[in-house]
Amino acid sequence: MQKKMECSLPDEVLEHVFSFIRSDKDRNAASVVCKSWYEIERWCRRRLFIGNCYAVSPRMVIRRFPEVRSIELKGKPHFADYNWVPDGWGGYVLPWIVEMVGAYPWLEEIRLKRMVVTDECLELIAKSFKNFKVLVLFSCEGFSTDGLAAIAASCKNLRELDLQESDVDDLGGHWLSHFPETYTSLVSLNISCLGSDEVSLSALERLVGRCTNLRTLRLNRAVPLDKIAYILRRAPQLVDFGTGTYSADLQTDVFSSLAGAFYSCKELRSLSGFWDVVPAYLPAIYPVCSRLTSLNLSYAAIQSPDLIKLLRHCPSLQRLLVLDYIEDSGLEALSSSCMDLQELRVFPSDPFGVERNVSLTEQGLVSVCLACPKLQSVLYFCRQMSNAALVTIAQNRPNLTRFRLCIMEPRTADYLTLEPLDVGFGAIVEHCKDLRRLSLSGLLTDRVFEYIGRYAKKLEMLSVAFAGESDLGLHYVLSGCESLRKLEVRDSPFGDKALLANSAKLETMRSLWMSSCSVSFGTCKLLGQKMPRLNVEVIDESGPPDSRPDICPVDKLYIYRSVAGPRFDMPPFVWTMDEDYALRDS
């Protein structure tokens, strides 16, 4: 009977049906229904997402999916964003590019996050993929403007070049001029991360002028204010614009030219950039504010009164990134002006100062959470917090999906009661049933982890620092959080017992990072031997961990599941614990 069912739908029909299945999860589910579905699905899968480039090898990927057009890869652990992963750790994309050049000549899209990309990689991409369209290098490093020049010169069908937050070496050379005069297909360009003199303004203006489909343009700091009007007038169809330096001596003609240019951009929905802001020029964007859905002012040292004035013009705002200069008063104004707000990020203007420099407290966050019914995503840096505030937030905003709180002094207690913040965060996980991402801070005992393990069933990513008192904390999380994919911990007394008791859980997660915790070298070895499908990597810059007793804690530990076995591109300060470890290093 089953055989009959398998043959009743021709392959082409199944393939057509599968083309409507976009999500990886659904495609994976379809592929395990039966052997023929597996075969059909693997031949028609076009997009791949690989959350950890070391979880699988390029060859394995190519063997299973021979016709891929779009690939996304992530490399270094998230904590590398804060420089907590030593330089040279890994995440090299070259081996992937080399394999894909042979296997996927029609590859169109490459999206990379936290990977090391060299000019050699970029040159290979430029000359190998004839229909290359999308290059996104999010938070990458290792390449220079020479590599970009190669992409510009050769990728005739390039639509998107996005270098968001990458670290690019400036070798001069006017790489933008390498886009041929005949090239017009650019839709999205993000060069906001580039340093001072890496962009030729005239080349930029010509490029913008001839690419009439340009929708996203994010400039870098070097582009002066008085050039913006000219650029905007040549690209009135822009939807997403990032300014350069937003500062100049106040001149009425420059101002009116700028305001007029903004006025002509009827499609503009997102603004960013705004380095070195001169507040007097802010009103130039008022013509577009009523339609704005996204505003990134997190580089702008604008004081609260100016921010309040600006925000009053933005009733459609869904996403706001801002510095803590906004203060409680500004957040109060935000909560009455922007009822559609979905995402709020407040960054510290003086993160390393000891004195409080702005009047931003938990009250600002509370007022936004009370007033904005669609608020889902919060990132908030502040210096004080209370359980009462967190409970209020939790009860009023059960639709939160991302909640990242950073109280800047480690282990800060509830400032009203001097208690730990366990109850407050407990309320967050209890009420916000769809919470997917959580970052903790403040004074926290094992109790908060008990709450998290009990309630946070949809939690996928948890970040912990200076928290907990014992292994119990880690045990609660690993044994309770059913959806957990990524756990990153620093400076918390979590150790051997919890890890060993929950070792099977680690195979259901993408990765676990622990630094400055209490995991002993002996446990790392044991885990590495016991769990062949986990790569257990010890990072220790003070020397080989086996030069110290087994009970010594390791400095940093990164554990991730992999079907590719241990990697071989590690720097001298990273050791893989596997069955062969003892033999290899003797």
Binding site: D81, Y82, N83, W84, P86, D87, G88, E165, D167, C193, R221, W275, D276, S298, Y299, F347, P348, S349, P351, F352, G353, V354, F381, C406, M408, E409, P410, R411, A413, T417, L418, E419, P420, L443, T445, D446, E450, A465, F466, E469, S470, L472, Y476, D491, P493, S516, C517, S518, E541, S542, S547, R548, P549, I551, C552, P553, D555, P571, P572, F573
Partner: protein
């Protein structure tokens, strides 16, 4: 004290706990103002090699922010953009490479993160797991295998600590932690 209240709340709460952990944990929480990014391992045999790695001297006063390495979590491009208009001197003194004789890799640090020599030296000690000796103007660093030196704008090798802090951050191009034997002679230039 606030923690008396905690003990009362215990009675009304369900606890999943290994026997004996709850009360100890309350006590530990009350002393948590010792901010240390070193693991506390009170049961361990403090071998000299191990003690060098973790200073369990919890009696020291709470360190300043600069000593809690890499906190709060801010991305480096964001840190850089918080700087006020960069003058040439300022850009000169920011991220510098640090090497240590015998170590196979380099590190980078941001000199702007430190307020003075004590914080900088402590950070270097933590980063490379060594001890700097005692500094004196006449003799340089005494009592340690390693000596912190730097290369200045003119390319000269200098001893860390000889010039005022501001001058140092403006002129330092890279740091090098040398073996003491090689550094002899540096500290005696006056």
């Amino acid at each position: 004290m606030a923690f008396e209240k905690d003990f009362n709340l215990d009675a009304t709460e369900l606890r999943l706990g290994l026997p004996g952990t709850s009360e100890e944990s309350e006590k530990q929480a009350s002393t948590t103002l010792r901010i240390s990014n070193k693991r506390a391992m009170p049961d361990m045999n403090e071998d000299s090699s191990v003690a060098a790695d973790k200073k369990c001297d919890q009696e020291t006063a709470p360190p300043t922010k600069a000593q809690v390495v890499g906190w709060p979590p801010i991305r480096s491009y964001r840190k850089n953009s918080l700087q006020t208009k960069k003058t040439e001197a300022e850009t000169c003194g920011m991220y510098v490479k640090v090497s240590m004789d015998g170590a196979p890799y380099l590190r980078k640090i941001d000199l702007k993160m430190y307020k003075g020599y004590p914080e900088l030296l402590k950070a270097l000690e933590d980063m490379f797991k060594f001890k700097v000796g005692k500094y004196s103007e006449r003799e340089g660093y005494n009592g340690s295998e390693f000596v912190p030196t730097y290369e200045d704008k003119d390319g000269d090798l200098m001893l860390v600590g000889d010039v005022p802090w501001e001058m140092f951050t403006n002129s330092c191009k890279r740091l090098r932690i040398m073996k003491g034997s090689e550094a002899r002679g540096l500290g005696c230039v006056v």
